[in-house]
Symmetry: C2
Subunit: 217 residues, 2 copies
């Protein structure tokens, strides 16, 4: 599958590298075509990996992943171009974390709105699926780092788009039984607000190698 990833931070590079290993053709997009992290990333991964701009990545992808910093995501997607996102599955793995006042970060969108919803409103023809934002990058691509079954969530307005994302999750090693479909994109509120608890757990444990499992009878 052709996948475009926006964002050259740890999440974009880690997710992109694993998707290349799984056989996908991935363009890692940055604000500038000259982004050194993206070029370095591509050079290490062989012919199925390339670096480019946000627009290059969006044009390339049948599936586009937003792995930019949440507070910059809408601007990054605008730079990618709405026309290049039309009709595409847009996986939003970002969180609207604001670290400008130090640790712990706060959320810049919450309670009655979410980044996932803001992106869907701004790009109405994209098929936004919120997923993986509740999990550290290393666990995203290797769920077995955390023992036993644990939960990954998907939320979005387009069931077919969610199926595509669940297929990718399965390839990454997530069992079908660990996926919870929370319904439409408004569920992104709860998924993003959970970050306040996730960050606290991460600071207390001193590691991001953990996840939650939703347990029910």
């Amino acid at each position: 599958m052709r996948i475009g990833i926006l964002g050259t931070g740890t999440v974009g590079r880690t997710l992109g590298a694993r998707l290349v290993q799984l056989g996908h053709e991935v363009v890692l997009g940055a604000r500038q075509a000259t982004n050194e992290a993206a070029r370095q990333w591509a050079s290490e991964l062989g012919e199925r990996a390339a670096a480019g701009t946000f627009a290059d990545a969006a044009a390339h992808g049948e599936v586009v992943v937003n792995a930019t910093a949440g507070v910059a995501s809408v601007a990054a997607l605008q730079a990618a171009g709405a026309d290049r996102l039309d009709g595409k599955v847009l996986v939003d793995v970002a969180n609207p974390l604001d670290s400008s006042a130090g640790m712990p970060p706060t959320l810049s969108i919450l309670n009655t709105d979410s980044l996932g919803e803001a992106i869907q409103r701004q790009f109405p023809a994209a098929r936004v699926v919120k997923a993986l934002n509740t999990i550290n990058a290393n666990v995203m691509v290797d769920p077995a780092r955390v023992p036993g079954e644990h939960t990954v969530f998907v939320a979005g307005n387009d069931p077919a788009a969610k199926s595509v994302v669940v297929g990718i999750l399965r390839e990454l090693g997530w069992p079908a039984s660990s996926v919870i479909d929370l319904g439409d994109i408004t569920a992104a509120r709860g998924l993003e607000m959970y970050l306040a608890l996730w960050i606290r757990l991460m600071l207390n444990f001193g590691t991001a190698d953990f996840n939650i499992k939703v347990v029910r009878p």
Copy 2:
């Protein structure tokens, strides 16, 4: 142990009834001494249970539980009287949910503050412990309703107060290994913001019989 519970809703009555069954002497406190729900509750539970005002419950308890609606909790605690809370373990199981705009409710305090912190600030001599706010009342008092191990959190500034609360959790059936101490009361932010996800899960499942388990290597 003498336990005062503020709030005659499902949480207060369910938690109180179980604590009476476990041998504790419980006063269930309401705004008005004539509260019918509290009187009915006490009449069904025998001599270790009594109904009274918020002040009666607070005066009675070595441990006081805030099980009032979060948006009314500070007023309820003021009615109870700061002097009756001084030095006591104050277990805050409430969430600052605002349902005035319909479902789902939003949080009236969040992000850079929490109800747990607001209560600790307002009643600095009380030993506030945030606990059980992430779990439905029936599961609080019978964790085996949800299969396997799952997590209950405590947070507060006073380690001895947290130990008292963990002792009560153990009596309610929570294994020691399922308790996560998140540190000081600022962790109440994450515990309360998790409610946005909890409510979404509850609406999707059509039941509150679930919980999360934090899984780590």
